[in-house]
Symmetry: C2
Subunit: 129 residues, 2 copies
DNA sequence: TATTTAATTAACCAAACAGTTAATTAACCA
DNA sequence: TGGTTAATTAACTGTTTGGTTAATTAAATA
């Protein structure tokens, strides 16, 4: 499983690691700070290992501060995986829009009234109209 | 690793499976058709297993047509993972924009001329300005 | 009905993964 | 310098993953 994208997705395929990313999305933190919410569930070396997976995947960087290690999200580490998902986002949104439109025709037919659309088709995702 | 999102990312963490998704993004295909490009590298049962992983992850659906199985992408199966990446896309793009802007100030300083920006900040990704 | 085609299931194996406890490294501090 | 704090490394274990070959299912067809 050598390639970067595979390592990234493998890193994301674990709820503990996703929670660690979520913590880091609020700003930098030391290993101990990150570990704190997990230490009821798992040992310190387990935390170290999870962070190493995130580091190897390029999603997190560490810098040393005395005995402490400061961890940070590495935004550019998300680039490849974000780009990958973009392709499928388009497909997904078009499909869901079609389904939304279909539901709308059903509603119109059954009620014989026009309603203001409250569905996804109101461009929540910022794609071009 | 029970949860849906973990299963999805785990399914995406393999280049063979990503290639299968790419094939299916051009339209439906039978198991044999999907298998064809891989049969130099791996056996038919291996292909079956990969497809099963994609199915369990909710990314692919199968329907029977005589002895054949027709495979399709399942757009809504991508919803959770796409939404997850959205969060980090924002962070990533902001960071890359800042870096682009920084590079621009460097260029301006060294050349003392204004240039039209050719960087990412030209809203390629359709997010609101 | 016997054969071929399409795909899956079964049984097995090696490597990777996620966790453990114990030991070690390395910096700070009293 | 001896102890404490922060984190990692080592060694080990059970489970999951990705592959194999051989056997099986099930539908189409000659």
């Amino acid at each position: 499983m050598a390639d970067q994208l595979s390592q990234t997705f493998a890193a994301l395929a674990d709820p503990t690691r996703r929670e660690m990313l979520s913590i880091l999305s609020h700003g930098q933190a030391t290993v101990s700070e990150i570990a704190e919410p997990f230490l009821k569930r798992m040992s310190m070396p387990a935390v170290t290992k999870h962070l190493k997976v995130l580091e190897r995947a390029g999603l997190v960087t560490k810098t040393q501060d005395a005995q402490r290690r400061l961890c940070n999200l590495n935004p550019s580490g998300f680039q490849e995986s974000v780009q990958f998902m973009e392709q499928y986002r388009q497909m997904m949104e078009e499909s869901l829009d079609r389904f939304g439109a279909y539901l709308e025709t059903l509603t119109k037919q059954s009620t014989k009234t026009k309603r203001k659309s409250k569905t996804r088709s109101s461009n929540k995702h910022g794609r071009k109209k």
